[in-house]
C-alpha cells in the first residue's frame, strides 16, 4: 500500500472479537486488518500499537460487511462469505476456515454483500446484497436454505428482532421490509420516502441504515434519520441531520449515527441532536461499539480514510488506528 493508495482508502466494516480485545476492519481494497485494542489502549501505547497486528487481503472486492460469532469472524466480499477463526487470526494465520457463495441468478456482474446478521435462534446467517434478495444460510451445514425476495433494488442493511423473530431489511428502493424468520414470509413493507416528515427528495429514497430496539426502529438514508414505533408503523421523531446516515445504533438512552459528514451524531429519542463529535474521515461508513469487554469499552468509527477513530469517552475522539 503506497501513500497514494492509503489516501484513497475507505473503511467499510468493523467487528470486535468475542473477547473484546481485538478489532477487525475491512476496506475497499478487500483487505482485513486486525488491531489489538489492548495494546492501543494500554498506557505505554506507541505509534506502532496503532497499526494492525495483522493485515491481509481477504477478498477480491471491497469488504462491505464483517460479523463476529463466538469463535469466528465472517467477512463478505464480492458474492462470497469467508469465515476466519479468531484464534487463528490472533496467531496471525490467514487461512480461511470456509468460504461459501450464495447462489446468484445473474452472472455478468457478481453482486456484493452489504449486510450480514445472525439469527441466534436457529443459528443461521442472513445476508443481503446486490442481487436484491436476502439469503439465509445454516451455519452448521453451510447450506443456503432460503431466499427472501421482495426488494426491487439492492439491499443496504439488515436487522433482526429477536423477540418476534423478524428480519428487517432496508434497500436502495426505499422500502423497509419486515420478514418473519420462521416462515420466511414478508410481513410488512414501509416505504419511508412516502412519509413527508422523513422524505428528502433532493437526496433520494434509499434506506442505508436500520436499527431496532424492542418496539423501536431507526431508519435513515436518503430520507432523514427517523425513529419509528413499529406497532403503529409511524415515525415518532425525525432527526435533523444534514447528510445521509449510513449506520445508527441505540446506546443506553442515546442514538448514535454516522454518515456523510465528518462527525458522529449523538441524538436523543425526542428528535434533538445532542452533539456532533468531529472525526478524522470526511465521511463515515461504520460505527461499532465494543460492549463485550468492560475494560476496552470503546466506540470506533471508520469511513473514507485509512484511519479509524477510537473514542474511549464517547464525547471526543481519543486517537486513531491506521491501516
Amino acid at each position: 500500500m503506497g501513500p497514494v493508495e492509503l489516501l484513497h482508502m475507505s473503511v467499510f466494516s468493523q467487528s470486535f472479537s468475542p473477547c473484546g480485545r481485538f478489532l477487525a476492519a475491512g476496506n475497499n481494497y478487500g483487505e482485513i486488518a486486525v488491531f489489538s485494542l489492548s495494546a492501543a489502549l494500554s498506557p505505554d501505547a506507541s505509534e506502532a500499537s496503532q497499526k494492525p497486528i495483522l493485515n491481509f487481503t481477504a477478498h477480491d472486492g471491497p469488504v462491505f460487511s464483517l460479523l463476529s460469532t463466538d469463535t469466528h469472524l465472517l467477512s463478505a466480499g464480492n458474492g462470497e462469505i469467508s469465515a476466519w477463526s479468531w484464534a487463528e487470526l490472533i496467531k496471525k494465520s490467514t487461512k480461511a476456515a470456509w468460504t461459501r457463495k450464495p447462489s446468484y441468478e445473474t452472472s455478468l456482474e457478481i453482486p456484493e454483500i452489504n449486510a450480514m446478521i445472525i439469527n441466534p435462534k436457529d443459528n443461521s446467517l442472513i445476508v443481503g446484497g446486490g442481487d436484491n434478495n436476502i439469503h439465509i444460510m445454516d451455519m452448521e451445514t453451510g447450506i443456503f436454505k432460503s431466499v427472501l425476495k421482495g426488494h426491487t433494488d439492492y439491499i443496504h442493511c439488515l436487522c433482526f428482532k429477536e423477540r418476534e423473530e423478524e428480519i428487517l431489511s432496508g434497500g436502495e428502493d426505499g422500502a423497509v421490509r419486515i420478514w418473519d424468520a420462521r416462515t420466511n414470509r414478508p410481513v410488512h413493507c414501509i416505504e419511508v420516502f412516502k412519509y413527508e416528515e422523513c422524505a428528502r427528495p433532493q437526496f433520494g429514497k434509499w434506506i442505508s441504515c436500520l436499527a431496532t430496539d424492542s418496539d423501536w426502529m431507526l431508519c435513515g438514508g436518503g430520507p432523514s434519520l427517523s425513529l419509528w414505533h413499529l406497532r403503529s408503523m409511524s415515525p415518532t421523531s425525525v432527526f435533523p441531520l444534514p447528510g445521509c446516515q449510513r449506520e445508527a445504533v441505540f446506546y443506553q438512552d442515546l442514538i448514535m449515527s454516522v454518515g456523510e459528514g465528518p462527525h458522529v451524531s449523538h441524538c436523543l429519542h425526542g428528535g434533538t441532536v445532542k452533539a456532533q463529535i468531529p472525526c478524522t474521515p470526511s465521511s463515515l461508513n461504520t460505527l461499532a461499539l465494543n460492549l463485550k469487554n468492560s475494560e476496552h469499552r470503546v466506540m470506533t468509527v471508520g469511513g473514507s480514510s485509512h484511519q479509524i477513530d477510537v473514542f474511549t469517552n464517547f464525547s471526543y475522539r481519543a486517537f486513531s488506528l491506521s491501516f
Binding site: H8, S10, E109, N114, Y154, G204, S282
Partner: protein
C-alpha cells in the same frame, strides 16, 4: 815577607828535602810565573816546602808546643817585668837575652800560626774537594733519574700508541685463514705470533682492497660505455620524431576519409591529461559507455587548456576569476557593512567557488533529433562536480504556455533520482569552508555554477558519506556502476519532457491526444471535454481548498510541477488540480477533484468524486500506455472526462423533487448505477463490451 818566610822555613827545617811540586797552590798572579820560571830553571835547588812538613807534624803536638811557647813567653815576660821592675836597664844582658828568647818564641808562635793556617786551609781544601766529588755524583744521579723518567714516559707513550691499523676492520681470523693465500697468511708463523698475525691480516686487507678498487674502475668504465650507447640511441629516436609527425599529418585526410577520428581522440587524450580527476573519470567512463552501449552519446572537452596547465604548476595567482555575476550575487549576500572587509570576503568567496577552467560537454541524442547537452564543471576548492543543461530540439517548441517550466534548464534535471534536488552541496566538508567565508547556502550560486546533484558526483567517482547506504566502490568503479542507469534516466527525462511539451500544446488547444494504442481504454464517445489547461505555482496550489488532504499526506514537494485542468459538460464544471513529480512518468501525477454542479463538491465531500480520483490515481498502471509510459497524463485526463460523463449521466436526483428532463441523458451502458454502502457509480470501463461496472 814571603820570600823571607821561605828562606826562614828553609833555615829552620833543613831536614826535609822534598821534591818541589810545581803545583804550588798560592794563586797570586805574579808568583806562579816566578815560581814556575824558577822551578824550571832550578830543578836541582832544594826548596823548602812547608806543606810537606805539614803532613808530618802532628796537630796535637803543635798545640802543646803552642801552649808551651805561650807559657814560656809569659814567663819570660814576667821575668823581664821583674827585671825591669828591679831596676835593670833596658839594655841589660838579661833583658836582651830574654828579649831574644822572646823573639824566638814569637817566631815559633808565628810558625805555629802559619801552620795552623795552613792546616785550616788544607782541611778546607779537602772538604771542598769532597764536596765537589759529592756534587758531581749527585749530578750524575739526577741525570740518571731524569733519563729513567724520560724512558718511562717514552715507554708509556709507546704502549699507548693507537696505531691506525686498529681502525681498519679486518675479517675475522677464521675467514682470514680460509681465504688468504698462503704467502700472506703464513700460518706457520702467524699462528704463534700475534704481531705477525696482525701484520698478515693487514696485508690481506690491503690485497683485497686493491682488488676491489680494480673492479670498481672496471665497472665505472663499463657504465660509461653503456651511457654513451644510451645517448646514441636517444638521439636516434628523437631524430625519428619529425618523421613521424609528417606521417601523422599525411594520414589526416585518410582518417577523415575512413571516419576514424584517431587524431581527434589523440588530441582529446592530450587535453584530458589536464583534467581534474573527477572530470577525467567522467570522461573515461562516459566515453567507454558511449562506445560500448550508446552510439548517441558523445563527450567532448571544452575550456582553456593553458589555464589548466597553469593550475598544475606551483601556485601563481590566476587572474581569471569566475563570472562577475558571482560577484553581484555575493554583494547581495555580504553581511559586513565595511567595504574593505566585504571586498575581502567577496574575494575569498570567489576563490572558494572557483571552477576548473576545463569542463566536459556530454551530448545525448534522441531518436527524434533533439539533444540534451550536459555541461559538467568541477569546483576545485569544494571538490564537487556541478552540471548545467541545455536542450536543443529539431522543431520549434514555442507552442505551449503551460510548458514553460518543463524544459527550464534550472529544473530540468530535478530529482532525477528521488530527493536529489541539487540545491545543496553533497560534500559535508564544504559546510566548514562556507562558514569561513560567510556563505549560508550553496543554493544561491546554483543558477550560476550549476547543480551539484548526487548522481553527478557519483559519475565522477566522488563519494561523500551522507548517511545513506554506501557501496564500497570509489572512483571509476563507482562511476561505471551508475553510468548506465543515469544515462537512461537522463534520456528518459528528456523524452518525457519533450513528450509532455507536445502534449501540453495539444491540451492547451483543448484536445486530449490519445494514441491508437490507448483507444481501448476509453469508450468511443466521450462528451465531456477539456476546456482549460494551465500551470500553477506551488503557492497557488497550496491555497486550494480541495487539495489539503494531499498536502497533509506529504505527497507535495517544492520541486513538483502544478497544473489545473478544467473539464466541462453542460453546466457541470470539474476542476482537477494536478501535482506532477519531476520524475514523471516513473511517479504518476496526482489528481484532486472539485466539481461545480448544483453546488460545490470535492473528493472529500462526495464519495463518487473520491472514486473518480481513485480511478486516475490508484489505477494508474492501466493508463500507462505503451512503454515508456509517456502518455500517462493524457490518458488520466481522458479517463477523468469519461468518469465525469458517467457521473453526470447516472445522477438521477432532481433538485426540486419533480421529475423533469434530465440534463444529461443516459448514454453510457451501466449494469447498475449504485453499489455498496456508499452507492458508488460504475466508473470502470470494460473493453470491448463497452459497459461500465464497479471495481
Amino acid at each position: 815577607m814571603r820570600t823571607q818566610i821561605t828562606s826562614s822555613a828553609t833555615v829552620m827545617s833543613s831536614d826535609a828535602v822534598k821534591k818541589r811540586k810545581p803545583k804550588v797552590i798560592r794563586s797570586e798572579a805574579g808568583a806562579p810565573e816566578t815560581k814556575r820560571g824558577r822551578a824550571e830553571g832550578d830543578q836541582d835547588v832544594r826548596v823548602y816546602n812547608e806543606e810537606v812538613e805539614l803532613e808530618v807534624r802532628d796537630p796535637q803536638q803543635d798545640y802543646m808546643l803552642y801552649k808551651d811557647t805561650c807559657a814560656a813567653l809569659a814567663k819570660l815576660m814576667e821575668e823581664i817585668q821583674e827585671l825591669k821592675a828591679g831596676g835593670a836597664k833596658v839594655q841589660s844582658v838579661e833583658i836582651e837575652e830574654r828579649r831574644t828568647q822572646c823573639s824566638v818564641h814569637f817566631i815559633t808562635l808565628k810558625k805555629l800560626n802559619r801552620l795552623a793556617h795552613m792546616r785550616l786551609k788544607k782541611g778546607r781544601d779537602q772538604t771542598h774537594e769532597a764536596k765537589q766529588r759529592v756534587d758531581v755524583l749527585h749530578l750524575q744521579l739526577q741525570n740518571l733519574l731524569y733519563e729513567v723518567m724520560h724512558l718511562q714516559k717514552e715507554i708509556g707513550k709507546c704502549l699507548e700508541f693507537r696505531s691506525q691499523h686498529e681502525e681498519i676492520e679486518l675479517v675475522s681470523e677464521e675467514e682470514f685463514f680460509q681465504e688468504a693465500p698462503a704467502e700472506i697468511s703464513r700460518p706457520h708463523v702467524t699462528r704463534d705470533d700475534q704481531h705477525q698475525l696482525t701484520l698478515a691480516r693487514l696485508d690481506w686487507e690491503l690485497e683485497q682492497r686493491k682488488r676491489l678498487a680494480e673492479q670498481y674502475k672496471m665497472s665505472l668504465a663499463r657504465k660509461e660505455k653503456i651511457q654513451k650507447a644510451i645517448e646514441q640511441k636517444r638521439e636516434y629516436l628523437s631524430s625519428l620524431q619529425p618523421g613521424l609527425q609528417n606521417i601523422m599529418q599525411a594520414s589526416l585526410p585518410v582518417q577523415e576519409y575512413l571516419a576514424i577520428p584517431f587524431e581527434h581522440m589523440q588530441k582529446q587524450a592530450e587535453v584530458a591529461r589536464h583534467l581534474p580527476p573527477p572530470l577525467y573519470v567522467l570522461l573515461v567512463q562516459a566515453g567507454a559507455y558511449g562506445q560500448a552501449c550508446d552510439k548517441n552519446l558523445s563527450v567532448s572537452i571544452s575550456g582553456d587548456v593553458d589555464e589548466a596547465k597553469a593550475l598544475s604548476r606551483p601556485p601563481e595567482d590566476s587572474q581569471d576569476d569566475e563570472s562577475d555575476s558571482d560577484a553581484e550575487e555575493e554583494q547581495q549576500n555580504t553581511k559586513r557593512r565595511r567595504a574593505t572587509l566585504g571586498v575581502q570576503l567577496d574575494d575569498k568567496r570567489k576563490e572558494m567557488l572557483r571552477r576548473h577552467p576545463l569542463s566536459l560537454c556530454v551530448d545525448l541524442k534522441c531518436k527524434d533529433g533533439s539533444v540534451l547537452h550536459l555541461f559538467f564543471y568541477y569546483l576545485m576548492n569544494l571538490n564537487i562536480l556541478t552540471v548545467k543543461t541545455k536542450v536543443s530540439t529539431t522543431t520549434d517548441l514555442s507552442g505551449a504556455v503551460s510548458a514553460g517550466e518543463l524544459l527550464n534548464s534550472e529544473s530540468l534535471l530535478n530529482c532525477l533520482y528521488a530527493s536529489d534536488h541539487g540545491k545543496e552541496t553533497p560534500n559535508p566538508a564544504n559546510r566548514y569552508q562556507f562558514d569561513k567565508v560567510g556563505i549560508t547556502t550553496f543554493g544561491d550560486y546554483v543558477s550560476d555554477l550549476g547543480h551539484p546533484f548526487v548522481w553527478v558526483q557519483k559519475l565522477g567517482g566522488l563519494q561523500f558519506s551522507s548517511g545513506g547506504a554506501q557501496s564500497g566502490l570509489t572512483g571509476s568503479a563507482l562511476s561505471a556502476s551508475h553510468m548506465e542507469r543515469t544515462m537512461k534516466l537522463l534520456r528518459g527525462r528528456l523524452q518525457a519532457r519533450l513528450a509532455l511539451h507536445k502534449q501540453f500544446s495539444s491540451l492547451e488547444h483543448s484536445i486530449i491526444p490519445v494514441s491508437s494504442e490507448c483507444q481501448h481504454l476509453f469508450p468511443a464517445k466521450v462528451v465531456s471535454g477539456l476546456v482549460r489547461w494551465t500551470t500553477m505555482s506551488c503557492q497557488e496550489f497550496t491555497e486550494l481548498g480541495f487539495v489539503q488532504h494531499v498536502l497533509k499526506a506529504g505527497l507535495v514537494h517544492e520541486t513538483d510541477l502544478f497544473f489545473m485542468a478544467t473539464v466541462e459538460r453542460g453546466t457541470a464544471r470539474l476542476r482537477a488540480a494536478v501535482v506532477m513529480n519531476p520524475r514523471y512518468p516513473e511517479v504518476a501525477p496526482l489528481f484532486s477533484l472539485s466539481l461545480h454542479w448544483k453546488g460545490e463538491r470535492s473528493g472529500r465531500t462526495d464519495d463518487n468524486l473520491q472514486a473518480m480520483e481513485s480511478e486516475v490515481n490508484v489505477f494508474r498502471s492501466e493508463l500507462q500506455g505503451p512503454r515508456p509510459g509517456l502518455q500517462l497524463l493524457t490518458n488520466q485526463i481522458q479517463r477523468l472526462c469519461v468518469c465525469l460523463d458517467v457521473y453526470l449521466e447516472t445522477e438521477s436526483q432532481v433538485c426540486d423533487g419533480s421529475e423533469g428532463p434530465k440534463e444529461f441523458p443516459r448514454e453510457k451502458m451501466c449494469l447498475r448505477t449504485a453499489r455498496g454502502p456508499s452507492r458508488l457509480k460504475p466508473f470502470k470501463y470494460n473493453h470491448p463490451q463497452g459497459f461500465f461496472s464497479h471495481r
